[in-house]
Subunit: 282 residues, 2 copies
């Protein structure tokens, strides 16, 4: 596996692959890999000839009060894991290479997709994501890119941006990978103390509860939301950021749930660790 630090070097490598007729699959990450990341890399390997993983903790997608400095990092372990997963090139640029002095361009997707859910409490987050992914697509020039469905709103934002800017990259969605007990894998899970880890299960269990009630015939988003809010708050460490039933593509709230509805959840544990999860309920 090649480790590439400079954007220009990355682009030169990508151009060589294209010249040789090899398809590149990109997996954009912020590192600190877990099974979720590895499954994205394997998926990319099934769909493309060369897998490139970008490892970049993107400062502009963190708000001023968020965990940029504390975000977990372990470069050597990540390299070993990516190598084992069959990654051909690991692109790990410095922030100063990605955002040199004077850099001021932002890519933003409209408020229909970015104003609600995580966008409500993280106002500049999705512009930060769209900007860095647009840059990564220009630098790595992938034929396809694989994103996890755990970041459900991010996926919708990236699909929108890719279509709107004619970026010509196929966006592949990969299902959420979970721990045995149901917790959605996340690099931020390492923040959780044992008692908090238990409270974190409230998210996946709320999804299961919603599925049960929906299957029994309860299709009112409002009534289901009340049930889920009570359930999640029965874990004393939790505070609900949002419980939203939205259309899978438009991300607009729905009153009655159906097969196109996604339940999206964000919960803070002890006011510190913010976890998200989502899934269909019908």
């Amino acid at each position: 596996m090649q480790i590439i630090r400079h954007p220009d070097e990355m682009t030169a490598w990508a151009k060589e692959q294209a010249k040789a007729g090899r398809r590149i699959g990109l997996v954009p990450t912020m590192g600190f890999f877990h099974e979720g990341h590895i499954s994205l890399m394997r998926r990319a390997g099934q769909l493309a000839d060369q897998v490139t993983v970008s490892l970049f903790v993107n400062p502009i997608q963190f708000g001023p009060q968020e965990d940029l400095a504390a975000y977990p990092r372990n470069f050597e372990r990540d390299c070993a894991m990516a190598d084992t997963a069959g990654v051909t090139a690991l692109f790990a640029p410095d922030a100063a290479e990605m955002y040199p002095a004077g850099c001021s361009t932002t890519v933003a997707v409209g408020a229909e997709l970015t104003g609600q859910l995580c966008g409500a409490s993280r106002p500049s987050h999705f512009a930060g994501v769209a900007t860095v992914v647009c840059k990564l697509f220009s630098i790595v020039r992938p034929d396809l890119a694989v994103f996890g469905e755990k970041d459900f709103q991010q996926l919708a934002v990236i699909r929108r941006m890719t279509a709107d800017l004619n970026l010509g990259v196929e966006i592949v969605a990969h299902p959420i990978v979970r721990e045995v007990d149901g917790l959605a894998m996340s690099s931020r899970n390492t923040y959780l103390a044992p008692q908090q880890r238990e409270a974190a299960l409230s998210l996946s269990r709320a999804l299961a509860l919603a599925r049960k009630r929906a299957t029994e015939g309860e299709h009112s988003a409002e009534r289901l939301t009340t049930v889920l809010q009570d359930f999640i708050h029965s874990f004393p460490e939790t505070a609900v950021d949002y419980i939203s039933f939205v259309h899978q593509d438009s991300l607009q709230h729905v009153a009655e749930i159906d097969a196109q509805t996604v339940l999206a959840l964000a919960v803070k544990i002890d006011g510190k660790v913010r976890l998200i999860d989502n899934g269909k309920v019908l």
Copy 2:
């Protein structure tokens, strides 16, 4: 010369050129060609193997009170002129192909470059320009793109965006092409009645006056501005939008002019036709 209407078809054509090792030079335009456009096309032909011209009156760079509907068009004449100038492919998409329903992504360059000069009176203009040029670069995949220096701020904005988003396109600046009497060529010149045409000369003459005074030793931007304002307003049809002495790269105002200073002018003729011009004065 091939005329291409659909973005996907344009990209397919561009990929073929790349595969054959041919370099593409792009000239983005809004059509209604004059000698200025033709000189950009010829320049692109000197620098690249294939010249692609995009002809698209981009709705999102016009403000609600601006001249989108009235903007002059003559597709057949444009085709003939481009063909004669050696253009290989003319990309002329419909607005509905460029901005399909649901499209909501914007590319914006920071206020340092877009908040002053034309950006002050046209607040969403440069986001419209940056967005469409980003799209055109993705669709046409040029090795280089040629822009006229007449749109001096646009050039700075596009350079910034291209660098910031790692678009990998070489930006080539081409000098202003003028009528015999000095008027900078512009599709909007066709709006001018004879008396207005005379008043329009106030811009290039103001540049000449500034050059004369600067060479004589007047380097104060404030005093030069007063001289130019009085001169331009001696044409009764004129109203100055701005007279600005700015650094050529940063576009920030300077108090004392030097060899890096650009004088940028925008003047409205009879409250309707807005003309711009610019140049070095030292």
